[in-house]
């Protein structure tokens, strides 16, 4: 099952995208964006996996042990931080939208101009 992890990634993206398109609530939409982004964690970790490799931490194992790729794991960490920052900003925009227009429905919000 060589492609299975990558199918999982595609499935997570599809689920998140479907949620974003059909969403009737800004908060729900932000959560769907988080789902789409979490597919990148699975993708990064799946790409960097080495068959039979251990986690790249050598505190109590031999430094010569076969390990998975540490660079993509560091990238996944960056990914998480960026996601937290983006989510925080989007949520504050949702708060502002609700205060100004009294609704979180993107279809109703589209009717307001300016």
């Amino acid at each position: 099952m060589q492609v299975f992890p990558f199918l999982v990634v595609a499935w997570i993206v599809a689920v998140g995208l479907y949620g974003m398109v059909t969403s009737r609530d800004l908060i729900h939409q932000v959560v769907c964006l988080i789902v789409v982004q979490s597919s990148t964690y699975v993708l990064l970790l799946a790409v960097g996996y080495v068959t039979g490799g251990v986690a790249p931490y050598f505190f109590d194992i031999s430094p010569h042990a076969k390990a998975v790729d540490p660079v993509v794991q560091a990238l996944a960490l960056t990914d998480v931080v960026v996601e937290a920052a983006v989510t925080a900003l989007l949520l504050s925009f949702a708060v502002q939208a609700h205060k100004r227009f009294g609704t979180l429905d993107p279809h109703e919000l589209a009717e307001f101009k300016g």
């Binding site: 099952m1 060589q2 492609v3 299975f4 992890p5 990558f6 595609a10 993206v13 995208l17 398109v21 799946a46 790409v47 960097g48 996996y49 080495v50 068959t51 039979g52 986690a55 790249p56 931490y57 050598f58 505190f59 430094p63 390990a67 998975v68 790729d69 540490p70 660079v71 993509v72 794991q73 560091a74 960490l77 960056t78 998480v80 931080v81 960026v82 937290a84 920052a85 983006v86 925080a88 900003l89 949520l91 504050s92 925009f93 708060v95 502002q96 609700h98 205060k99 100004r100 009294g102 279809h107």
Partner: protein, 255 residues
Amino acid sequence: MTPRQRLWLFAFGVAGLVACYVWAFAGLPGFGHYPGPYGPAILKRVIAETNATGVVSAVNFEYRGFDTVGEEFILFTAAAGMSVVLRQLRGERKGESSPTDDAASRQVPATSSAIRIVSLLLVGPTAVIGWWLATHAQTNPSGGFQGGVILATAFFLVYLSGEFIAFRRLSPIAVLDVAEAVGAGGFAAVGVTAVALSLPYLFNYLPLGTIPGAVSSSGTIVLISFLVGIEVAAAFILIVGELLEQTLLRREGSS
């Protein structure tokens, strides 16, 4: 644009995305056979070069240190952007009529003693775990980012257990601002110090220690990780505190 047209546009975009996905996945190395050049190269030399056994931290704070500075400032910018977006509103609502809270009539149940006791009991251990994680980046799967978030959780437990007031008193915005600036600026300063010593930016100029994986080993990695921990904790308390304050404002405005 009608919703129907928008849906068609989306279908068109998705078709393109699916095509790109299939094309990209067809070219990926098989699962478990990643031939990436950087990972194996770093794994081969990391312990000899840095005395750090936590390779992900070494990548983040040493080999990719320059990227991590940018990453930290993304978080810094998000916290600053949020206070700008939400602060403007606080001024606005004084003059205009406040929007109604649909759930204003809902009875907000008082915090139960069980939640209070459990969350207060967890404050101490959570803070210790966060601190420990932020200072042990060089040995095991931890680091400033993880530790900072858990450290911030200790403050949210105070909020959960009792009052917003206690949460605010424990984490005044002025102190948080200073902590965030120290964390973000300290990281950049560690890098600039290397330049002042006529070394490359973010060069690991501190003694590396003798034992791989010891707390005192790995030079600037542990220092940067700790500074990142302070910055992340302060940024998260600011961000969540800002959102909590909004719910408080709403409730006051509607009652």
